[in-house]
Amino acid sequence: MAEWFWWTLYLLAMLLSGAAVGAVVLSRRRVSAVECAGLLLTLGPGVLSSLLLLASLCGLRPGRTISLLIAAASIITLLILSRRHKLPKVTMPCDFRRTDLLTIPPVLGLAVAGGYVWTMCVAYPLMEWDAIVIWGFKAKVLYYSALTPRPWYFTDLRYNYSHLDYPLLMPMMFAAAYGMMHQINENLARLIMAILYIGQMPLVYVGARMFLPRVQSLLITVLVLGAGYTVGQTLMGTPDIIVATYVAGTTVYVLRWIQLRQTCDVVLAALFAIFAGITKNEGLPLAGVTAAVICGLALREQHVGCWKDAAIFCGIIVVGLGIWLLWRAGIPHTDENYPAQLRWSVLTSNAARIPIIFRAALREMANLSYWGGLWILVPILAVIGYRGWTDTRTIALWILLVAHLGIYVLVYVITPWEIRELIRVSMDRLLIHAAPVAGLVIAAHWGSLMTSETNEVGSWECGVNG
């Protein structure tokens, strides 16, 4: 029981960290209760683990003292904001209609999925090969040693199979849990995956609400989070669900920035992009793609406020990801080292892989037991909801989705590994990262078919996107 007590304190520390950062960024803004819940559950783990990584770089191992100090600092921040009346205003939905009864089945479905993931995460320790050998191993390294001085693990090539230079956010989430409980308890640490899986639900819902009414937004959320492969991989303990959650956060706040041009939205988008980049290597180029979309839109607008927001976004991700890349520079990169493979000669000699990659991707996307109808619906709704192509947000979503998948195609083209074997073990996981964006693309096109009578999205006056 003691481990449950300390784990609960760890959860509180996470939520408080997320609340403090969210309150600072969204100061005095109106925030729906749903969005507030999503930010608490997703920002919290990222903020706390990032701060603990910084502390580890300063020679401090994750433990009770430092986690509770961060929680205390978060409480103080919230109290100061409260005294100055600068807290965000959390609003509840107030305009209920009879059709809102139709929200009950999808909400129940999401609750069942969340409960199932939670139960299975507690029931099993780390059980999947990569979850143990790559991510669980790093979690133990971070639990037992600070990053300064650099632990011997990171420079011993006999451990190269565990990918010494992989990012450390998820291992730190686990290490912080171990540090709070003072034991290696994989079952309870795995609940981080359940929290981020559940936290993605409100983010996807909030994103879909920019285009659709409540019921339809919930259907999109079920489509994205109820996919068999997404649920299954959350249970495996690999960080793909974490990357998907942070990609969802980045995308949602980029969309809201396009809609409202609020600086707080680019700050949140940048934070989520950093968290994605220090969770898995796939997050690094995605941050660049997102920066390109924001900068492109800012240049098109030719408005000083937009340029300022674009500069803020780029500045935050350069600092955040730069710290990680600087530290990572001292670690041996002997197996993949994709940047070194990015040469014209490699691209031309491996061009024959492109049809193989596309065939495998289409086969994967059409797999109903893995994805349900998520990927199949993207082209269908793109055609049926063709009016959506006139919306800047829809174009931005398509650029993000195509660039996201295009980066993976490029990686498959230049990889030194045997291509069919690599596709077999990795392509399905990469599609999890892009699944939230695919869901929002469906929402954007579906929303374009709504008339003003059927669509009550973005009710900013009452219960913002609630």
Binding site: M127, N160, G226, A227, E336, S369, L377, I442, T451, T454
Partner: protein, 193 residues
């Protein structure tokens, strides 16, 4: 577009999306991993599900906890996929389990990405080398003709002259049957995870 056309398209989109969502639980339940994990939990067989990993954990934890360990694989064939899998399970899981202690599987500077590379490294330390690296126990593995593996745990003496690396305690022979874990075979290391 005429209002009727737009309404028709909206109904088509709503019908298609709703149908996919309604069928979602059926699709998800047919995903093999969910069936495997849920089934084992429902039948209270979580321990059986993890038995493959826990066999390795038991093996490395039987050694005294105050020193590092070594794993030496004798007469293994890197083209034999079962033997490569076995080596990977022992080395990679064993290293994870005993961390922050070390499980030595190769000489310094040897880049290890797979079980085949461990086998091909022909790690065969002398007793002096084991002593210099403060290794208290060395596990010697060799394959039998019937596919099972033989494991012997040797205690490294505290100070001995440079003698060939043979098990010092023949009385500590233990038969370790090869018991693969009940999950999909591990992918090759370095698969871009």
């Amino acid at each position: 577009m005429k209002p009727n056309g737009r309404t028709s398209l909206r109904w088509i989109a709503t019908t298609v999306v709703t149908a996919m969502v309604v069928l979602q639980p059926w699709f998800a339940s047919s995903y093999d991993e969910i069936r495997l994990i849920s089934g084992a939990w429902w039948r209270h067989q979580v321990n059986d599900f993890m038995s493959g990993w826990w066999n390795v954990d038991r093996m490395v934890r039987e050694a005294p906890p105050d020193s590092d360990l070594a794993a030496i694989f004798v007469n293994f064939d890197s083209s034999n996929s079962k033997q490569v899998s076995y080596v990977q399970e022992v080395c990679f899981r064993g290293s994870y389990t005993i961390y922050p202690r070390r499980l030595y599987i190769a000489q310094e500077g040897t880049a290890i990405n797979s079980g085949a590379m461990i086998i091909n490294s022909r790690f065969d330390p002398t007793v002096l080398w084991l002593q210099e690296h403060q290794i208290g126990n060395a596990f010697y593995f060799s394959p039998r003709a019937d596919g099972k593996m033989v494991m012997m745990r040797a205690i490294v003496p505290r100070s001995e002259p440079n003698v060939p690396a043979a098990p010092q305690s023949p009385g500590q022979t233990q038969l370790l049957p090869w018991n693969p874990p009940q999950q999909p075979a591990p992918p090759p290391a370095g698969g871009g995870k």
